[in-house]
């Protein structure tokens, strides 16, 4: 599709104006910073309403096919809408798994019936999606999933449990990786992949309390839960390939996501502002030379990671270890974000000891909570230590660790 620059400029003005007029007012309670942190009904309903409103205004799934509920327009429009949402710092789209992973997957390899059934309701947030990959005994080792899916005629019977299910308490569907065959040559060949309903007998999401004291995810138990075999996506026994495809969406290696912002970004500049207000020895903390050095180090790293993203697109500057920047991105960015949050806490002096709920907590306690929640990124999706193994082995070519 060929879109004129004028059409895009006009659109930018339109979407900016709409967001300005319609972005929600401060709800009066601390909002989560990503879908992994949605812990109360109040937060959830607020975010779900906001997503529906954005979709109904036409600014979500703009490039998804119109016959399934998308906008049927050029991706460039969605990119502009998403960038404008980020710029105006509006709340994120809470149905992240649906919009960014399950939706693109269904559009890519789902049946016609699956596309008709799910796509529009993902966009409108009528159906909330969650992901069932990790299990209590299989965190980083995804291929070893043990939740059983036993075929019984036209149905599968599910037994076992999944864990760290973000939005598990609210979800209507789960993308589920399960073992449909235990007698295969490799562990990977016994896996099947399902679009599995959550609100059926035998599925029980039990909230897990996080280190923050909040609830943000569940352990989801399956006890003789029966689902029709039309829930399969991809062929029976080919679940590993579908899971790998999902990861290309999850890691944004493949395009096709519905768009919208999916977390509230944190900037080092916000911590610099914090340092202007915090006090040391009767003076603003930003005048303390040691604090200045740490702030500069965080700004430098933020800039370096940002410039990495630009340099990664220049092949001539990535000849020796191509893919190094992309492969290390989760590691570098999550670790930086954790250090930033941690430093923002310590900057507050004695007030660092306050927490969310205290009337005098700095910024409502967002930095304290942000620091604790930052472990979701340094642990989830493969811990930083696993990431270092992956980068060391696949990028630097070091021998496998046992």
């Amino acid at each position: 599709m060929n879109v004129s620059a004028k059409a895009l400029d006009d659109f930018r003005v339109e979407v900016a104006a709409w967001l300005m007029a319609n972005k929600p007012a401060d709800p009066g309670f601390l909002l989560p910073q990503s879908f992994m942190e949605v812990g109360t009904d109040q937060q959830f309903e607020f975010l779900r309403d906001w997503q529906r409103k954005v979709y109904e205004a036409g600014y979500l799934g703009m490039a998804w096919p119109a016959q399934y509920g998308g906008g049927g327009r050029d991706q460039a429009f969605q990119d502009i809408a998403t960038a404008e949402m980020a710029r105006q710092k509006v709340p994120f789209m809470t149905n992240t798994i649906g919009l960014s992973w399950a939706g693109p997957l269904i559009l890519n390899m789902g049946t016609e019936a699956q596309k008709q059934a799910y796509i529009k309701r993902i966009l409108s947030a009528e159906d909330i999606w969650c992901q069932g990959f990790s299990e209590p005994d299989n965190g980083s080792d995804l291929g070893n999933a043990q939740l059983r899916a036993v075929r019984d005629g036209n149905e599968f019977v599910l037994n076992g449990s999944k864990i760290w299910t973000s939005l598990g308490s609210y979800a209507d569907y789960m993308i589920l990786l399960a073992r449909s065959n235990t007698e295969t040559n490799t562990k990977y060949e016994g896996l099947s992949y399902f679009l599995s309903p959550m609100k059926i007998p035998g599925v029980d999401p039990v909230p897990i309390r996080k280190l923050t004291g909040e609830y943000g995810f569940t352990q989801t138990f399956f006890d003789d839960a029966r689902i029709p075999d039309t829930c399969l996506i991809g062929e029976e026994g080919k679940g590993w390939q579908v899971a790998m495809k999902t990861l290309t969406f999850e890691r944004a290696v493949s395009g096709g996501q519905a768009g919208g912002v999916h977390s509230m970004p944190v900037f080092a500049s916000e911590v610099v502002e914090l340092a202007r207000h915090a006090q040391r020895d009767g003076r603003p903390a930003i005048e303390d030379p040691l604090i200045r050095d740490q702030l500069v180090a965080l700004l430098m790293e933020e800039r370096g990671l940002d410039l990495n993203n630009q340099r990664a697109d220049i092949p001539g500057l990535n000849t020796e270890w191509p893919g190094a920047i992309a492969m290390a991105r989760k590691l570098t960015n999550s670790e930086w974000r954790q250090r930033l949050n941690q430093f923002a806490v310590t900057l507050q002096g004695a007030n660092a000891s306050r927490y969310v709920g205290d009337a005098q907590a700095v910024d409502g306690g967002r930095w304290q909570r942000g620091y604790f929640n930052s472990f979701s990124s340094t642990i989830g999706g493969g811990t930083s230590q696993i990431q270092k193994n992956i980068v060391g082995e696949r990028v630097l070519g070091l021998p496998k660790s046992e």
Binding site: F267, N309, Q310, V391
Partner: protein, 381 residues
């Protein structure tokens, strides 16, 4: 991540891409590690024939305008040469000659430019005499002086870390004149017989000299008379930082490879030692440090301009590049020694060559702490 990012933060021209590729091949061919080691014992850091090859490739005139015999490109293209040379520990007066030319471009009159720039582009070696015994990185902190006697300048004092001085025909010397910083061009013939003495320095691939100015007399026409000389000195300092950042990025990649080779071939307790996470994970840290350093470097190469002191963006970019490259090189080369075990403790292990190089590069023209202090002023106030 940062709010002020623009898509043009890193531009990598076709010229840069070609130069990088050619310089990689050149450095690999001309400076294998046994050649580096042979050169350690030689009188000069670089063999004269090799220097003439570099000149013949046109690399000394990259950032010199065409009207003065150069190719009219910029320091960003020089970065693409210096990085691969740093990787192979190739030591030469390319950076000092390039920087002297930039200083003349920035501060010289037409006569000085026409006299010297074509010569420098063609291979005349220039040395920088900017630092002094006090070791301060502030190039305006000057104890060397010149006094005027009619049309003659009488110099006194001593400069330090004048690299490749024995091969140089031209010296760019900073000193105080009438209480203000000044730059003068000193030809070798104007120096006393014992003006140079060799310094013993940590990086043995370099040839560094102390330079005595006592008794040197020059025509006042050798002064580089810019309106804003402190500004020019700052530009020169930042340009030097940019080239050091390039050299350090190259060195970091080089030493990571030296270490990787060992980790993939050395066996202990029935395993290649690179399989141990205690060694593997710091190697990833080294790589991550390098990747960020290269991104800062090529951003700085994109936005830095000599003589544009008003442009804070260039200064921020260069200081970040130097600080990050120094941290990456220090870490990678320090771990290189440690991860070679007992062999790493020996002179024969190449890790020390890189560690010594890293120390030199970080400590010339400001270490990471120093640049972060200046960045704090630029970013926080």
């Amino acid at each position: 991540m940062t709010e002020q990012t623009e898509p043009s933060d890193i531009l990598f021209s076709d010229e840069q891409a070609q130069l990088l590729e050619i310089a990689e091949t050149f450095s690999a061919n001309k400076s294998p590690i046994d050649a580096v080691r042979r050169q350690l014992a030689a009188e000069d850091a670089i063999d004269g024939a090799l220097w003439r090859e570099i000149a013949a490739l046109g690399w000394l005139g990259i950032a010199i305008p065409e009207e003065f015999g150069g190719s009219g490109l910029g320091l960003g293209e020089v970065v693409a040469i210096v990085e691969p040379m740093g990787r192979k520990l190739l030591s030469s007066p390319l950076a000092s000659t390039t920087l002297a030319a930039q200083a003349i471009l920035c501060t010289g009159n037409d006569e000085q430019k026409s006299q010297w720039l074509p010569q420098l582009a063609a291979g005349t070696v220039a040395a920088l005499a900017l630092t002094e015994a006090h070791g301060d990185w502030d190039l305006c902190h000057l104890t060397c002086t010149a006094t005027r006697n009619g049309g003659t300048l009488s110099l006194s004092g001593g400069k330090t870390f004048v690299t490749d001085a024995a091969q140089a025909d031209l010296f760019l010397v900073s000193l105080a004149l009438d209480g203000a910083p000044a730059l003068v061009l000193v030809e070798k013939s104007a120096l006393g017989k014992d003006a140079l003495h060799r310094e013993v320095v940590v990086d043995e691939t370099r040839r560094s000299y102390g330079l005595s100015l006592d008794g040197v007399e020059l025509p006042a026409a050798n002064l580089l008379a810019a309106a804003d000389l402190p500004g020019c000195l700052k530009s020169l300092h930042l340009a030097a930082c940019l080239l050091y950042a390039a050299e350090m990025c190259g060195g970091t990649a080089g030493v990571i490879n030296v270490t990787l080779d060992y980790l993939k071939t050395r066996r202990q307790f029935d395993h290649f030692i690179g399989a141990y996470q205690a060694l593997k994970h710091p190697m990833v840290d080294a790589l991550v440090g390098l990747e960020q350093a290269r991104s800062h470097l090529y951003h700085a190469a994109t936005v830095f301009e000599m003589g544009n002191g008003a442009d804070g963006r260039g200064e921020v970019a260069v200081r970040m590049a130097k600080a990050q490259a120094a941290a990456a090189f220090a870490f990678a080369s320090d771990r290189a020694i440690q991860f070679h075990g007992a062999f790493g403790f020996t002179y024969d292990c190449d890790a020390q060559l890189y560690r010594r190089r890293a120390l030199w590069c970080e400590q010339q023209h400001g270490d990471g702490l120093h640049h972060r202090k200046h960045l704090a002023g630029l970013l926080l106030d």
